[in-house]
């Protein structure tokens, strides 16, 4: 009897969770690749997949919050680039338009004299303001966010172009903050190398700190989403905006906040990315918004709003990354390595069908 109750309860828990569908798919595909793909069952592949997911994963958190409230933001790539330029220039005091202008304004930074605190404030603050502008345009005009951010995407790109002086920024210094944001996670790498795979193995492990940041942020925002009234309101606005307003939810405020959060996270992603590559260009990460939307949707979020989870979105981007690596390693005839997007496309559609099936079971 108690066994029965347990089974029913766990099944219900499972049905009510948007993570269920994508997680099943991820595990199934991962196991499938373990068996059929040469070189897939290596630490190198696993750590490569996880590292690749970190930056897009951070962006996907913001997109997921927006999608749950029924909105989109297509202007995240310029925010990432903006954060990269501001953070990169100011952290080391690169000889750039940004450093010189800020120094001219009397801010505590000069060529050759970086200011890490200011770099972080700008790297997070400016993209957050860009998100604020998106949100304010949305609530004051009622133009769909898809259109608003399609416009600001071009405008922001133009602003980045001006701020960057149309140049690639590259730095050679290596301040500690880069290590903290996205250095090699040698403690873990060495542990795995010495204790699990053995020092003689030719397999290489390359985890980075960005993964820890990602896990922390996912936990933080998932908690915010399901445990606070702000999160509750995002679900309500996306699920039925009219009902939410009729129940006294201040939807304008919540929507503006979610755009600011999305900008903030894009800014953080930009800093993490710069910390790894120490360079940034104007067209950095163009198109990442669509990857993030795909990740969120594969991860169980509804394109129409009102349903989804940050965990699910993380699983979604993982799934896409696993597929990419798997398909490339598989060397399928007629599907060359750079043709993996075709496979990803199939997965997006298939997993959404599967997610819909699970969701309908839980709601009707």
């Amino acid at each position: 009897m108690s066994n029965d109750t347990f089974r029913i309860r766990s099944l219900r828990l499972f049905e009510n969770s948007p993570v269920a569908g994508p997680l099943i798919t991820l595990i199934a595909i991962y196991i499938l690749f373990l068996f059929i793909t040469p070189n897939f069952a290596t630490w190198r592949t696993l750590s490569g997949i996880v590292t690749a997911v970190s930056i897009s994963g951070i962006v996907t958190i913001g997109i997921t919050l927006l999608m749950i409230s029924g909105e989109f933001d297509l202007s995240l790539a310029p925010m990432i680039a903006m954060a990269g330029y501001l953070f990169g220039s100011v952290s080391v005091g690169a000889d750039s338009l940004i450093t010189n202008t800020l120094a001219g304004w009397g801010l505590p930074v000069a060529v050759g004299q970086g200011n890490v605190t200011l770099a972080i404030i700008l790297g997070l603050g400016v993209p957050m303001l860009m998100g604020l502008v998106n949100g304010l345009i949305l609530i004051s005009t009622n133009v769909p966010s898809f259109i608003v951010t399609l416009g600001t995407r071009q405008i922001y790109r133009g602003i980045v172009w001006i701020v960057a002086g149309a140049e690639l920024l590259q730095v050679l210094d290596d301040p500690v903050v880069y290590e903290v944001f996205n250095g090699r996670f040698e403690l873990l790498n060495n542990f795995i190398k010495n204790n699990i795979i053995g020092p003689e193995s030719r397999d290489r492990v390359n985890f980075r700190y960005a993964t820890l940041w990602l896990i922390g942020l996912v936990a933080l925002y998932q908690t915010l989403l399901v445990r606070t009234s702000f999160g509750n309101h995002l679900f309500a606005i996306g699920g039925n905006a009219g009902a939410a307003t009729a129940q006294g939810v201040r939807s304008a405020k919540a929507r503006v906040y979610s755009f600011m959060i999305s900008g903030l996270l894009a800014g953080f992603a930009g800093m993490v990315q710069f910390s790894q590559f120490k360079s940034v260009r104007v067209a950095e990460q163009t198109g990442i918004e669509l990857t993030a939307i795909a990740g969120a949707v594969v991860g169980g979020a509804l394109l129409t709003g009102g349903y989804g989870s940050v965990w699910g979105a993380l699983v979604g981007v993982m799934l896409i990354s696993v597929l990419r690596s798997g398909v490339i390693l598989l060397k399928i005839p007629f599907v060359p390595a750079d043709n993996f997007p075709a496979i990803v496309g199939v997965t997006i559609i298939a997993s959404v069908i599967f997610n819909n099936y699970l969701r309908n079971r839980s709601t009707s």
Binding site: T228, H233, G248, L302, G306
Partner: protein
């Protein structure tokens, strides 16, 4: 011909059982224009404490507009609203809620993909403030929600269940239970039975009775003349943005009501 109806009313004039009760809502000369369209053309509408009032009218007659003015979805163009003895300005649903006006709309009622307790407490969550963060007291809300619903005779398996899984009647019950739980002073139901089976409809009518037993005044919009006889004490007929009149139960035949709604017997 209308004269005939009025004569009949005069003959069968019923005592207004609530005539001595205090007025809960009093709308005077309410006008609402959408651009050049005049949806309400000077409507007077009064409801007293403890009564169940039906609001009837053809599609587009203005009954929903009247209700939406009262609940802050629309702001009135001109006119005056007195609620619970005080002149009020209702500019948003939040204003209406703060006054104690609880509404369940056909289209704006609930969020199917959210759980019962989240719907029940939406916009009025029980929270613990941790700095700027409003931490939801989830178990407490789930418990209170389940108890409140049980109190008016609604059994739910779990407050964690999604509203989308519930039947139409059960969904209405959440709105009614919510109104009672939060100590509303007036409950408004917009066509609560329009999409329901006979069995479900009867359940909803029971819930309306449960609300009435607790002294909660109810206004409900309906197309169904039978419902008036089942639960309401009186009914107001709206036609072309104006109030035709308010009648006590038993004053008019169903045919009379139908004629007044459609305007088949013009003055």
């Amino acid at each position: 011909m209308t004269k005939n109806i009025m004569e009949k009313v005069a003959e069968k004039r019923q005592k207004d059982l609530f005539a001595d009760e205090p007025v809960i809502v009093d709308m005077k000369n309410v006008v609402k224009r959408f651009g050049t369209v005049e949806a309400l053309r000077g409507v007077d509408f009064t409801v007293r404490k403890g009564e169940v009032r039906a609001l009837m009218g053809d599609n587009g007659a203005g009954k929903s507009t009247l209700i939406k003015v009262l609940t802050g979805v629309h702001t009135l163009t001109s006119g005056q609203i007195t609620f619970d003895g005080e002149d009020v300005q209702i500019n948003s649903p939040a204003d209406a809620r703060a006054l104690g006006i609880e509404t369940c709309y056909q289209d704006l009622a609930l969020i199917p993909l959210m759980s019962i307790w989240r719907n029940f407490f939406l916009g009025r969550e029980l929270v613990t403030n941790i700095g700027p963060i409003k931490w939801l007291r989830r178990q407490e809300m789930a418990r209170q929600c389940k108890e409140s619903l049980l109190d008016i005779g609604i059994h739910i398996r779990s407050a964690e269940e999604k509203v989308g899984k519930m039947s139409g009647g059960e969904r209405q019950s959440i709105a009614i239970g919510r109104a009672i739980h939060f100590g509303a002073k007036l409950l408004i139901l917009d066509e609560p039975t329009s999409a329901l089976s006979v069995k479900e409809t009867n359940k909803v009518l029971d819930y309306i009775r449960a609300a009435k037993e607790r002294g909660l005044p109810v206004i409900f919009i309906t197309h169904n003349v039978n419902h008036i006889y089942e639960v309401s004490d009186s009914y107001t007929i709206i036609r072309q943005g104006q109030s035709v009149g308010t009648y006590q139960k038993g004053e008019l035949t169903q045919q009379d009501i139908a004629d007044l709604i459609t305007g088949a017997r013009e003055k």
